[in-house]
């Protein structure tokens, strides 16, 4: 029988085909790991170092009842470390400091600058010492600066198919007059080939004040109605005048009652739904429901009543000039501290819509509507336009608009009535709008060109934002960030 060469080749091909197929099946049977390989949720340790500087100027200092120097400087370094514990789990450590100096806060005791009773002199032989202070001058008091320290730990676990994520977090922050302890958890579900995502998160903060109150009210709280003539009081031998410049001892912040609850607790539920709409378009909708309970006012913030006589310390000739920055030597003594309801319910909701225009430009947009049961309603709109000049360099100009209505409990300096239950002259709770314009420059080290041992640079970011509020507050921030990967 004659065998054709083509038939021999065909048989050989078939033999090789079955051999390779058998080897393949054998390999599959012995080691199926190559087919069940899971990509790690996080491939390597990532470290972000951030440092931000913020500076503001304003004329509505809340510690001095809604007028006064509001200058503030803040520097905040932060480090965020993400550690892959295994293929499914990631631990994040987020720690930072926030150091500030504040002219407004410094005037918890505005009399430090001149010393009040401690360093005064008996000018008119009346036994009363001229002293001063002004809401327009930063005092040297201890409350002029503080450092907030914070640390948060969060843990995320991903399911095998990466369609479910569970998270938990715990953390705290500490500053001189305030402590905060928080914890929470969340669950995320993806489906529809990861085109649709739903998240549910809850968060609890258990905070506590270590209240600092304005000096004149603090002395009243300790020594009672006779605090102006009590030789143990800070104000002993200090001249207090009425609006006419007459020396008096009748000043009493009699609306004041001691703070009986130093706790402030916050409970929140957050929902988020996101959907891919096309190859270039995706959006998310999110809403929070927040309940706060406890001492929601700030004990350091003064309030003045229109229906009570005014009392001052300092040069009474400057009273007519009191509300102007040129006032350097007279201070209006408080009628009470800020008082606000013991509960507050907040309901913010919003959406993001991102569109990939082309390989150079992405349009990022954000809108938020906010309302609460203190009468505040607000809108926030933000646009960002990341522009890629190359694989490495990106510029992102941004614009943000914000407006809010005033809380029901707000009135400006010396406009509240002593018969009200709640009152504040904090302009952060007043009606205003704000505009923020700025941008960021980001350098991405695509090929990990810069390495130090096992540490590779991933990204450098430089940001600048200019913030203008319609009530005259003006601010800017500069921040920089460095991202590293540790192999």
């Amino acid at each position: 029988m004659e065998v054709k060469p083509e038939e021999v080749v065909g048989v050989i091909k078939s033999i090789f085909f079955y051999i390779f197929l058998s080897i393949g099946l054998l390999g599959y049977a012995q080691n199926d790991s190559i087919f069940t390989y899971k990509k790690k949720v996080l491939e390597a340790i990532e470290v972000d170092l951030l440092i931000g500087y913020y500076e503001q100027e304003g004329v509505h200092a809340s510690v001095t009842g809604g007028i006064g120097n509001e200058d503030l400087q803040n520097t905040a370094p932060t480090v965020v470390i993400r550690i892959p514990l295994n293929v499914d789990d990631v631990l994040t450590v987020d720690a930072g400091l926030s150091a500030y100096t504040s002219a407004s806060s410094s005037n918890g005791n505005p009399f430090n600058q001149t010393g009040a009773s401690e360093s005064g002199y008996d000018e008119d032989n009346s036994g009363r010492v001229p002293a001063g202070g002004s809401p327009w001058i930063a005092s040297s008091g201890a409350s002029r600066k503080d450092i907030l320290t914070s640390i948060n730990l969060s843990y995320v676990h991903a399911s095998e198919d990466r369609n479910q994520y569970w998270s938990a977090n715990i953390g705290g922050s500490f500053e001189y007059d305030y402590e905060s302890f928080g914890f929470g958890g969340g669950f995320t579900q993806l489906w529809n080939e990861k085109n649709t995502e739903f998240s549910l998160k809850t968060q609890v903060y258990l905070d506590q004040w270590k209240p600092i109150i304005p000096t004149e009210i603090h002395e009243f709280e300790i020594y009672g109605n006779g605090f102006l003539v009590d030789d143990r009081s800070y104000f002993y031998n200090v001249s207090v005048t009425d609006s006419e410049g007459n020396g008096v001892v009748s000043y009493l912040p009699s609306n004041f009652t001691s703070i009986d609850d130093v706790n402030r607790n916050s409970y929140s539920v957050s929902l988020e739904f996101s959907q891919i709409l096309s190859k270039r378009l995706q959006f998310s909708f999110f809403a929070d429901y927040v309940i706060q309970k406890g001492w929601l006012a700030n004990p350091l913030q003064r309030v003045y009543f229109a229906d009570r006589p005014n009392f001052y310390i300092g040069n009474f000739r400057s009273i007519s000039n009191y509300e102007k920055p040129s006032n350097k030597d007279i201070f209006h003594l408080a009628d009470d501290i800020e008082r606000l309801p013991r509960t507050r319910i907040k309901f913010p909701f919003g959406m993001r819509l991102n569109y990939y225009l082309n390989e150079f430009i992405v349009l990022r947009s954000y809108y938020r509507k906010y309302s609460d049961d203190w009468g505040i309603n607000s809108n926030t709109v933000q646009f960002e336009l990341p522009i890629k000049f190359s694989l490495k360099l990106k510029l992102t100009p941004s614009f943000r608009y914000y407006d809010q209505t005033a809380t029901d409990y707000f009135a400006s300096y010396n406009q509240h009535l002593s018969t009200q239950d709640f009152y504040t002259s904090d302009y952060d709770l007043s009606a205003f709008s704000s505009r923020q314009i700025g941008g960021s420059l980001v350098y991405t080290d695509v090929f990990s060109k810069y390495k130090l041992g096992k540490i590779s640079l991933k990204m450098i970011s430089l940001r600048y934002q200019n913030y203008q509020r319609s009530d005259g507050l003006s601010a800017f921030s500069v921040s920089t960030g460095f991202s590293f990967v540790i192999d």
Partner: protein, 50 residues
């Protein structure tokens, strides 16, 4: 949308959340404005008093 069609959507700038480097600005917004939340930032905690 199949995974292989998500090239544009996987761009870092298409993420539906604020970049980490924006957090400093979010913090001073919480201090200087009454509204907070619905942005991935804090909804409570801290006195926000400076």
């Amino acid at each position: 949308m199949k995974e292989y069609n998500k090239v544009y959507l996987n761009d870092l700038d298409m993420e539906l959340k604020s970049p980490l480097f924006e957090r400093f600005e979010t913090t001073y917004h919480i201090y200087r404005e009454a509204a907070a939340g619905a942005n991935g930032g804090k909804t409570g905690g801290g006195c926000g008093c400076n």
